[in-house]
Symmetry: C2
């Protein structure tokens, strides 16, 4: 008989925990601030405390614990390498620490990887066996499911679509993330402002280019500001080239795009779709291909952490999730 | 009890067939010219004839037929789409044709994909479960094994590493293949010759730039010609960026490089390795990573076709090959 699963979403800001029954009904849910600035020991104590809060009276009911954490991390060893938004965390064996504390198997996956499992089990990619999930926000992360299994690689480092190298000008090598994530969009908007370009964004930040972020660009674009629209289109074209790479390497059924920047909708999706049409090697790669917005909201990483545990760290086929949930 | 396998290598020039026993001992082998210019019907007749030549007296001994063919092809349906070196072939259902003729299951894979299986079962990647195989010759093809299984995608079109888009100058989009395969190397050599660059290649082609191909560039580089060395290094840097993409997406244990251009050895491999070191996101991607030359020779596609059949089209784990062979 299938047992319950505990899921943890360790974010830079919020720490979430949930307990699910064997068919993914939510039994308990807690959240608290991560308080990342308090350092490693304080955050570890909060993780243990929030697990205890959702733990049932009898631990025997629980099959395993799934944890979504910010990368880079080694999903094979459960070691968190050194995430920029968790100060003081350097090669922390989080898997071993939580296993020792609760005596249960622990599976750890990076947030974008588990989000792919979540979208495939309950979201936009339900029923698909070949899935590329991309999240565009402060960075660009991804999770890839290949014939029903999460692509993790030899050390659990795979699926870093944001770090595909691209040549920008004069042979200089940059990456999809550096040229198309939120900070890149904001950087170009600031440069345009400083260069004196005419745009409604100037008033929106009260004349201070330093106040400009991707959110402002998104809002201005929705109100028809030409420069803001062009900046999102440029980001869309670069993300689109990353997606063409994913098409040619993985030949997926669906591309799911999430993350804060993706909330700009067609302003980003239309140039992405156009770039994919323009540069796909053959129409066969586009046959039956869907490019869609992520369907799950703030709980995507919690659902993903549960799916990660249910597939034993992504090693099992996602078909297991259909039987389970 | 495991049965015998028949393997076919349908190349643009040579048509090869072999029969292997359950432990991959060669029992029979035949080859003949493909005679591609004679058209579809003639080549189909030769394929059937060569299969009959290696077929044992009792067809019951044979488990299945594996075929290596030039891409693009749909490995799920067994349809050959339209390979440039097989004139007159357009959406030919080769799998169905051979199944009907011999009453045996037929598995078809593109030559680079099955070469990855061959190198993983008997070549440079033996014992590895995360493998990227790249072949650099007239084109750039690849085959990728992810946690023991061939990456094929929803329609069997995956692993086209040569068609990763790259931005060259002024936003123009090209591809790894267009910028680094043999014809690109030859093109740049011709341009340099026409521009009057000093190089030993001029004498090697008796003053005629049109005689220049990648083979000449390779030979000149081996003799210390500076321009030829630089041209191979430039190709190596571009291939290296494609490999960085593969590292970040697949996190493999080994990169195996084959194909005619790879025979230039360190002249190509050194700039590839340098580029990988320079642009890998984190040293964790390089931990334990090997970049090696392909180990199998002309029979790589035959061995690969046998491995393809033994893994039922790449759907089964390559661990099956260890048990089998």
């Amino acid at each position: 008989m299938k047992k319950e699963i505990i899921a943890i979403d360790l974010g830079g800001t919020q720490l979430r925990a949930a307990r699910y029954d064997a068919t993914l009904n939510l039994l308990a849910r807690e959240h608290m601030p991560t308080g990342a600035d308090d350092g490693l020991a304080a955050v570890l104590a909060r993780i243990k405390a929030i697990i205890s809060l959702v733990m049932p009276a009898s631990r025997d009911q629980v099959d395993s614990i799934g944890i979504s954490a910010p990368g880079p991390l080694n999903s094979k060893t459960g070691v968190i390498v050194s995430p920029p938004n968790l100060p003081g965390w350097h090669h922390v064996p989080l898997g071993a620490i939580i296993e020792a504390a609760f005596g249960l198997p622990v599976y750890i996956g990076n947030d974008a990887n588990v989000a792919a499992l979540a979208e495939a089990s309950q979201g936009a990619a339900q029923g698909c066996r070949h899935v590329c999930y991309i999240t565009v926000s402060t960075g660009i992360g991804s999770g890839i499911i290949c014939d029903g299994r999460l692509v993790t690689g030899q050390a659990g480092l795979a699926a870093e679509l944001g770090h595909i190298p691209i040549i920008v000008a004069a042979g200089k090598v940059s990456s999809i993330e550096k040229e198309a994530a939120g900070p890149a969009i904001a950087r170009r908007a600031r440069q345009a402002l400083i260069a004196g370009d005419h745009t409604a964004m100037l008033a929106m930040v009260a004349g201070d280019p330093q106040q400009l972020d991707a959110r402002v660009v998104g809002a201005a674009a929705r109100h028809g500001d030409r420069l803001a629209i062009d900046l999102l289109a440029e980001a869309g074209r670069i993300i689109g080239l990353g997606i063409v790479t994913a098409l040619h390497l993985f030949n997926p059924q669906i591309i799911v795009i999430g993350g804060g920047v993706s909330k700009t909708g067609e302003l980003l999706f239309a140039p992405i779709r156009q770039t994919v049409r323009d540069h796909a090697l053959d129409s066969a790669f586009l046959g039956g291909l869907r490019i869609e917005a992520a369907a799950l909201g703030d709980d995507v990483a919690l659902v993903g952490a549960a799916a990660l545990a249910a597939t034993q760290g992504g090693d099992m086929d996602i078909g297991e999730l259909d039987q389970r949930f």
